[in-house]
């Protein structure tokens, strides 16, 4: 499906058009910039940047804050980079700076969280909603279509809200026998998650499954379940592929985790930017003049379910270098 | 120099201390003998406290040396001073309000076992021992300091200082908040300490005390050493003239010549601590309130002014009944109250002199939205001159004024609104003789000009010298009224004493 980077390297070494300059700077801009999740994206972006001999730089806003992200993005735009890969804390709030960048001739592509009304060339995402749906389907099958489940999420953070909503809607549609009886807010913190999930297990002793929309929620859920002596009796579906989650899958405490195609977002996003910048994609002549989008506007980067069977394949996905 | 060094405990040589804008001490040299009570006198801002702070290690001199028992010592911190056997009661109280009396007395020296666990039983015992010296005042080792009044806090400070095993005890205006009875107890303690061979450096603006206690008197003026006199060989007038640099007599202004109509009247004031108080005040007179500490004078004044809640009672100004439900109401009627506790309740220590002087004026007289800086400064100028406040600029923080000058700023704050009735609670606390005379004259002037003056004072000479009429209080009640010739110490004490 995906060409290995070795294939592409051969192609580029053969073709000078695929060689950029080391002064060419491409930026990846995110919100909550410290977290593990973006590392997979950056790893993919960097792989592509190395391939083309250009520079990939990762920066972002430390918090989930629209003002912070817009400020950082605008500051990046002020540096006139070769291209920007951005994920949007809020779709509408980022429209203006994205449009501005494009007006200035800086190609912008969104990933993971889109700004659909903006003029970005393309978006690469799974859709957080779809990822939640996938978790619902896996858990639904695991529970045989019936029982009580709970959700641990980060309230009011858009990507988490979407994962939650996808999960709930899908259960309702496809597994009507499964009831979501509790939703808690773990604020992306393992200690809080453990505390909230413990209380949830007390309030609903019949809970058979828990879906965590963030990895640290999964770690907290695992601990809460251990402390309540319910390992095996409560299934956990977590999110992402940090080592803690993978270890817990290996141990059989977490049953599965949803992995999004983060590497692909970064790799193809970077590739799109490079191709745009270097005028390589030309589906129609003078597309700029006629306002025709030369790129596929939407790329589904896929979702994977990490389980005990395939967990070993994921240990290196977020490790850069 | 002159005296033999065997008998000498402390020698100061060329002590100089300069603050921004002020030379607080310049080349001060003198000696204190062993087992003597050595008084330091001087006007407000003469540098007395600064000098004491230097000896006790809380200030470092810019120049000069200190010799203790003939050896040069280097005092860099309060701890150094303590280790050398120097202990001090600061002019400004420095207690820990959240802690108990006992813990404050033994601050930094709590009795403890080998595991450093405090022996509270012993602590209370030890504290009780010192406190029982002051049994009049009724302080328990376990009382929280925040709940004590100023006099009681002053006693705690004194108790703290005398529990140190010291060679030199410094007392910086220890009696300014004390009643005569408590002061008498203190004097006895001081004399006992002297008998044990301890030297005492004693600062006070009450010359009577000085002449009762002191062996020698050192006079400071404008930060300079003037002279040291043997108490037996001098007299108050000479000391005052040395302090002030000119002749003045410690004399009260003549009493009222004519007393006019009634201008202020309260009837049946009742509160939690004041019972059935009625009195009236007439134009031109100064009405005094006397009583022991805790007799309820402060409570009464604060109840009248609406600062403390009133259960019942009526107040009349110029014959008309007025409603006072809050202090603001009182101020609107131009009734002012000068508090006895300048640090806690009287001043904005971290703000400049000018801001303090204008505080009430701005809120109650100056109806404009924006403050005219020149107006504010000229107001400060007017009262700084009138009360002779020693300050390097109107923007100097009140915190850095000498104690007496702080007191003057507090009075200025009230004079600035031209009050109709002014209640002054211990107004001359910590004020030097010269300034005191000035304030006394000022109060008399104000009374003459028709302003009603109510003077609460624990200093009987002041009450006797100033007031045309005196009301004596005991346990929240007025126990008697004295006027004219009847105003004597014996009569007041008789009405004030516990029955």
């Amino acid at each position: 499906l995906v060409p290995s980077s070795k294939d592409v390297t051969q192609a580029s070494s053969g073709n000078p058009k695929l060689k950029g300059s080391p002064n060419e700077e491409y930026y990846m801009v995110t919100f909550v910039s410290g977290i593990e999740y973006w590392k997979g994206c950056y790893k993919g972006m960097k792989a592509a940047a190395d391939l083309y001999g250009v520079k990939a730089i990762y920066t972002g806003a430390p918090q989930f804050d629209v003002n912070q992200e817009v400020t950082v993005l605008r500051q990046v735009i002020a540096k006139k980079p070769a291209g920007i890969l951005v994920t949007c804390a809020n779709p509408d709030a980022l429209k203006a700076p994205i449009d501005e960048a494009i007006k200035k001739g800086i190609p912008v592509i969104t990933f993971d969280a889109d700004s659909p009304k903006s003029s970005r060339y393309s978006v690469l995402e799974t859709g957080n909603y779809n990822a939640g749906a996938m978790a619902a389907r896996y858990l639904g099958k695991l529970l045989g279509g019936k029982g009580e489940v709970g959700i641990s999420t980060v309230a009011a953070q858009l990507n988490h809200e979407q994962r939650k909503q996808g999960f709930i809607d899908t259960l309702k549609k496809e597994f009507p026998g499964i009831k979501v009886v509790a939703i808690v807010n773990d604020e992306n913190d393992q200690t809080k998650a453990a505390r909230q999930i413990s209380a949830m297990l007390q309030a609903h002793p019949n809970i058979k499954g828990i879906f965590c929309t963030d990895a640290l929620g999964g770690v907290g859920a695992a601990t809460a379940i251990k402390e309540a002596n319910k390992v095996g009796k409560v299934k956990i579906i977590s999110f992402d592929t940090d080592k803690g989650t993978l270890d817990l899958i290996k141990q059989g405490i977490i049953d599965a985790s949803i992995a999004q195609g983060t590497w692909n977002m970064g790799f193809w996003g970077m590739t799109f930017l490079f191709y745009l910048k270097h005028g390589i994609v030309n589906p129609v002549d003078n597309w700029q003049k006629f306002g025709i989008n030369p790129l596929p506007p939407y790329v589904d980067t896929g979702t994977m379910v990490v389980t005990k069977q395939n967990v070993d394949a994921f240990y290196k996905v977020n490790v850069i270098k | 120099m002159k005296s033999s060094t065997d008998n000498e405990l402390l020698r100061l040589h060329g002590i100089t201390k300069i603050f921004p804008g002020t030379v607080a001490l310049s080349d001060v040299s003198f000696a204190v003998n062993k087992a003597e009570i050595h008084a330091i006198v001087g006007e407000n801002g003469a540098g007395k406290s600064t000098l004491m702070n230097i000896i006790s290690g809380s200030l470092i001199p810019d120049k000069g040396e200190i010799y203790l028992e003939g050896r040069k010592v280097n005092i860099k911190s309060p701890r150094d001073a303590q280790n050398l056997g120097i202990s001090i009661v600061h002019q400004e109280l420095a207690l820990c309000p959240h802690l108990t009396v006992a813990e404050n007395i033994y601050i930094g020296r709590l009795p403890k076992n080998s595991a450093k666990i405090v022996d509270f039983k012993k602590l209370n015992q030890m504290s009780q021992e010192v406190l029982s010296l002051f049994d009049e005042v009724n302080i328990k080792p376990n009382d929280k300091v925040a709940n004590l009044n100023v006099a009681q806090q002053q006693i705690v400070e004194i108790a703290k200082a005398i529990t140190f095993n010291c060679k030199l005890l410094i007392l910086d205006e220890p009696t300014s908040a004390l009643s005569e009875a408590d002061a008498a107890v203190l004097f006895k303690i001081i004399k006992d300490l002297k008998a044990k061979g301890i030297s005492i450096l004693y600062i006070s603006h009450r010359l009577r005390e000085i002449f009762e206690l002191a062996d020698r008197i050192t006079v400071l003026r404008d930060g300079r050493y003037i002279t040291t006199l043997n108490a037996a060989e001098t007299n108050p007038d000479q000391v005052v003239s040395l302090m002030v640099g000119r002749e003045i007599k410690e004399m009260y202004p003549p009493k009222a010549e004519k007393i006019g109509k009634e201008i202020f009247k309260v009837e049946n004031i009742n509160s939690d601590k004041v019972y059935n108080v009625s009195f009236s005040l007439r134009e031109g007179e100064i009405l005094g309130f006397a009583g022991l500490v805790g007799s309820g004078r402060t409570e009464l004044a604060q109840t009248i002014c609406g600062i403390l809640p009133r259960n019942s009672g009526e107040i009349y100004l110029d014959g008309k009944r007025i409603e006072i439900n809050s202090f603001e109401d009182a101020i609107k009627q131009k009734i002012g109250y000068v508090t006895e506790d300048r640090k806690q309740y009287g001043l904005f220590l971290k703000l400049p002199v000018a801001y303090n002087v204008s505080a009430i004026h701005l809120k109650h007289d100056y109806k404009r939205l924006l403050i005219d800086k020149n107006h504010e400064l000229s107001l400060a100028d007017e009262y700084v001159k009138k009360l002779n406040v020693k300050t390097s600029s109107y923007l100097q923080l009140v915190m850095s004024l000498s104690g007496g000058n702080q007191q003057k700023v507090m009075i200025a704050k009230w004079l600035a609104i031209h009050p109709r009735i002014l209640i002054l609670d211990e107004p001359t606390r910590g004020i030097d003789v010269g300034a005191k005379a000035e304030i006394h004259n000022l109060l008399r002037e104000l009374a003459k000009s028709g302003i009603g003056i109510i003077l609460i004072s624990s200093e009987l000479p002041e009450i006797i010298g100033m007031c045309d009429r005196v009301l004596v209080m005991r346990e929240g009640r007025i126990t008697g009224e004295l006027a004219g010739e009847k105003i004597t110490e014996e009569n007041i004490m008789q009405l004030a004493a516990h029955k």
Partner: protein, 328 residues
């Protein structure tokens, strides 16, 4: 002493007068850091970057103005960030769900903010609960109200409101109106804090509450006004944020309280009350803002950003304190 107090202040040269300003070192530090950044990154001193950075600061800066007043009064307000968010959510929500005119909606939002301030002030000044707890509870309540009203999802006004957009997106002579408004607020409040009689009362209250009471100042009234003013300013910041992004996120302003408080304290305010100036608070905001900007401009790794900005902050403040140190 030769009491020649009078003209002491008049004699001061302009330089000395300037040096006396608590804020002058902070200005120097900001200039020095700016020079260093602009040497390292030519992008720093571009109009675009400066305007962007200023825009990013404006909302926090408005909070810092209010927080100065709160700190001077001897209090603190942790609820400002969530009040900002709630204000945006109310104005946006009324418009979207009930078709209320956005200007009227904004006004209603500000009234609700004022009520929040009244509530804070009442519990602090009349009941006597520590400001930290009252406003911490209010932080939860206001944030919670924003969550409840939006059910966790941001409200979007996109593309609807030309006139209202001007607040956050319009420009006057090329300069964003939000910045113009922000600068006017700074000048206004700096002036008022220095010159106006009501604001002086705030200094009195914060400097010594007891003395203020015994000077006939209605201390509870002053305090309540301070919290109302703070909440209204937070509400205004929320309305501008709504207009700027056309989005009312229930999480908007999260953590802003700490930014605002630290900006004020860097600028010389004290948690003990009685001290602080608007100018200082704004300089504190700017210092933090340019440090953050530098991290982006100099491509500091996201993992290093917290560490580097912490180190720069402590270094800057230490220099400021060492040059201002009065007593040993």
């Amino acid at each position: 002493m030769s009491n020649t107090i009078s003209n002491a202040s008049a004699n001061k040269s302009l330089l000395k007068k300037l040096m006396g300003f608590r804020e002058i070192t902070l200005i120097f530090i900001i200039i020095v850091i700016s020079v260093i950044i602009s040497i390292l990154s030519p992008n720093f001193l571009t109009a675009e970057n400066l305007i962007t950075t200023a825009l990013g600061l404006a909302a926090d800066g408005i909070l810092a103005i209010g927080m100065t007043i709160v700190l001077v009064s001897g209090g603190v307000d942790l609820s400002v960030g969530s009040v900002l968010g709630l204000s945006a959510v109310i104005a946006g929500g009324l418009y979207l769900s009930y078709g209320v005119n956005i200007w009227i909606g904004s006004l209603i939002a500000l009234v609700i903010c004022a009520l929040i301030g009244l509530f804070n002030g009442y519990f602090i000044a009349r009941i006597g609960i520590p400001p930290l707890i009252v406003t911490l509870a209010m932080m939860g309540i206001a944030r919670g109200a924003a969550y409840v009203l939006t059910q966790g999802s941001p409200l979007s006004l996109y593309g609807n409101l030309k006139g209202f957009d001007f607040l956050g997106q319009g420009k006057i002579a090329g300069i964003p109106f939000f910045i113009v408004f922000f600068v006017i607020l700074i000048i206004l409040f700096d002036f008022l804090m220095r010159k106006s009689a009501p604001m002086r009362l705030v200094y009195y209250v914060g400097s010594n509450e007891n003395a203020a009471k015994l000077s006939g100042i209605n201390v509870p009234k002053v305090k309540i006004s301070v919290y109302v003013l703070m909440s209204v300013l937070a509400g205004i910041a929320g309305i501008f944020t709504l207009s700027r992004f056309s989005v009312a996120a229930p999480t908007a302003g999260n953590g802003s309280e700490l930014n605002a408080i630290s900006a004020c304290v860097i600028g010389g305010a004290s948690l003990a009350g009685g001290e602080g100036t608007v100018l200082g608070a704004i300089l504190g905001t700017i210092l933090v803002g340019i440090i953050n900007n530098a991290l982006v401009l100099l491509n500091v790794s996201v993992y290093w950003q917290n560490l580097v900005s912490g180190v720069i902050l402590i270094a800057a403040v230490t220099i400021d304190y060492l040059t201002h140190q009065k007593k040993s």
